[in-house]
């Protein structure tokens, strides 16, 4: 049952959600919040509970405990909340129909199946509305674009995307990135479950790491700088001079992965360190903060298991 709620509520509000299948626990008390116009990443190893939570939010499954609100309305698993677009890992097209016919069929269920809407949404994902071939003959990547198109067909205010970049070529990934950015700027909330961590990092301000059915960490992807500064010398002689200078200054420095790089523990004031480095007269090629990628964090979190 979906109940009327507050119009200013978060797009998705998941509180203390547990999900058990018999004696097996898939989710062990997940809290998650997505505001309107926000793209939030949802990452974790296979079997960590991502798809279960997506299905609960979409109203296809029930939470054993806890509550789920979508656009202020309570979702209890007996119906799906209105205003959502869904991309699951299975593509769900009728392979013997054309893309336009597939979308018209689905759109007719919610009165969004008129020809103009269908053609517009197909163009939006880079597909040709005049292509009459059955989608069963299409490449996987083209069918994935069609899957995204069906999610956009009903003009959703919340998008639940489970691995939407599966099978997309680099151009398709870039187009999807631009599309999601545009949708978010118009107030559409997006929950993006993906193993394409670079995309999550580019698109999302926040990402939830989920492991064994629990939110293990919430990462601010913009604040990804580590506590190290990479300094690349021009030559090995410059590197030796740099090492000597660091010792004189009593700065902690260690060899980097690159033989010409020295990694400095970042002091309180980075600008002073850079000014001092510039004043040494040593030839330097690069000074940059060492960023710990989302992938590194993911691997640290799961311990190499995925």
């Amino acid at each position: 049952m979906v109940h009327a709620g507050d119009g200013g509520a978060p797009a998705i509000d998941v509180a203390g959600v547990h999900k058990r299948y018999g004696s097996r626990s898939a989710l062990g008390g997940v809290d998650l919040r997505v505001e309107r116009g926000e793209i939030v990443g949802f990452i974790g190893p296979n079997g960590s509970g991502k798809s279960s939570l997506m299905r609960i939010i979409a109203g296809l499954a029930r939470a054993t405990e806890g509550s789920v609100h979508v656009l202020g309305e309570c979702v209890d698993g007996s119906s799906s909340p209105p205003g959502i677009g869904l991309v699951l890992e299975q593509q769900g097209h009728l392979p013997y129909l054309s893309a336009a016919r597939n979308l018209r069929m689905l759109g007719s269920l919610t009165r969004h199946g008129d020809q103009r809407s269908v053609e517009a949404v197909l163009r939006r994902v880079g597909l040709d509305p005049a292509d009459r071939r059955p989608v069963g003959r299409w490449s996987f990547g083209m069918r994935q674009r069609l899957l995204v198109a069906q999610a956009l067909l009903d003009e959703p205010r919340v998008l639940l995307l489970d691995e939407p970049t599966n099978g997309l070529d680099p151009a398709g990934v870039a187009e999807l990135r631009a599309l999601l950015g545009e949708l978010a700027s118009r107030g559409v909330a997006v929950l993006l479950a993906s193993h394409a961590l670079t995309e999550v990092e580019r698109l999302c301000r926040r990402a939830y790491f989920v492991r064994d059915g629990l939110v293990a960490d919430i990462v601010d992807t913009a604040a990804g700088a580590d506590d190290r500064l990479l300094v690349r010398a021009s030559t090995s002689a410059d590197l030796a001079a740099l090492r000597s200078w660091a010792a004189d200054q009593r700065l902690a420095a260690a060899a980097g992965a690159d033989p010409l790089v020295l990694e400095f523990a970042v002091p309180d004031r980075v600008p002073e360190l850079i000014r001092a480095l510039a004043a040494t007269g040593i030839d330097l090629e690069e000074i940059a903060p060492r960023r710990r990628s989302l992938e590194n964090r993911f691997l640290e979190l799961v311990g190499g298991r995925s």
Partner: protein, 282 residues
């Protein structure tokens, strides 16, 4: 609701399984055989194509293997199959409620059952046209199927076409029950094999027992849809063409079938609201 039903019907008949079922029915109709008393004896004139269709629809292989198993091939694993393909999620999120989604699916099964029964009847008529010496003749003098008129399956005084239509609807109702049972089982055990095995088991029991109900059915068999569909028990086809009174009323059979269908639809709708819908990993 009609758009949802149309979507489900496209999923059912758009697969490669549909032409296979058609071939199976055609083969069984052709091989169902024409008994001597349908071809004609000195006492009885030659049978026509309608008699042939009535005969085929009353034979165990055509009924159980052709219609039962054939329809099961189309619908038996529909729920798990649509979950695995992702169509289930795409239709369910667009439905205004789980009860509506379920009811539309069950109505689609009912329409599909009628379509399959009509196609099977047409195939039998075609075989009659091709194999009988007088397919357009007056048929059996006692017009066995006309005895059905007034028994509850069709109104009194109904003609040949109405009787054939009554038989088609009776068979379609039984096929619908098969589909409903498989769907309800799939809600509880959403595995592609489990619902098919359950219904196949039922059909095998029917085959193994050889429809004992046709001659002297115990009262409890009133609840077995297949016991009703062998309308021969009302006509006496099973006893070499001699007409005899049926052991129980076709009207009661029809009422029980309707009750069984209503109960299964209601139960499934209730379960669909209370349970997780099957997923690809179920």
């Amino acid at each position: 609701m009609s758009a949802l039903i149309g979507h489900f019907l496209l999923q059912l008949f758009g697969t490669r399984r549909a032409p296979l079922v058609l071939l199976l029915l055609a083969a069984l109709a052709w091989t169902s055989g024409v008994p001597d008393y349908l071809v004609g004896t000195p006492e009885l004139p030659r049978a026509n194509a309608a008699d042939m269709a009535l005969w085929a629809f009353n034979t165990v292989p055509f009924l159980v293997l052709g219609l039962g198993v054939g329809f099961l091939v189309l619908v038996g694993d529909f729920l798990p199959r649509s979950a695995a393909r992702g169509t289930l999620a795409l239709t369910a999120v667009r439905s205004s409620g789980r009860r509506r989604w379920w009811t539309a699916q069950m109505l689609a099964f009912g329409i599909a059952a009628v379509v399959v029964a009509v196609v099977a009847m047409l195939l039998c008529l075609l075989v009659g046209l091709l194999r009988l010496p007088e397919p357009f003749g007056p048929g059996m003098p006692a017009a066995a199927f006309l005895r059905l008129a007034g028994t509850g399956v069709v109104p009194a005084g109904a003609g040949r076409v109405a009787v054939l239509a009554g038989i088609v609807l009776l068979v379609a109702a039984v096929l619908w029950v098969l589909a409903l049972v498989s769907a309800v089982v799939a809600l509880r055990w959403p595995h592609p094999v489990v619902p098919v095995v359950v219904v196949l088991g039922w059909l095998l029991v029917e085959l193994a027992t050889g429809f004992p109900a046709a001659h002297d059915p115990p009262k409890w068999l009133l609840f077995d849809p297949f016991a009703h569909v062998r309308y021969g028990q009302y006509l006496g086809f099973a006893s070499g063409g001699l007409l005899r009174e049926g052991p129980h009323s076709p009207l009661i059979a029809a009422v029980l079938l309707v009750l069984e269908i209503a109960l299964l639809v209601w139960w499934g709708a209730r379960a669909a609201r209370r349970r997780d819908l099957p997923s690809a990993r179920s």
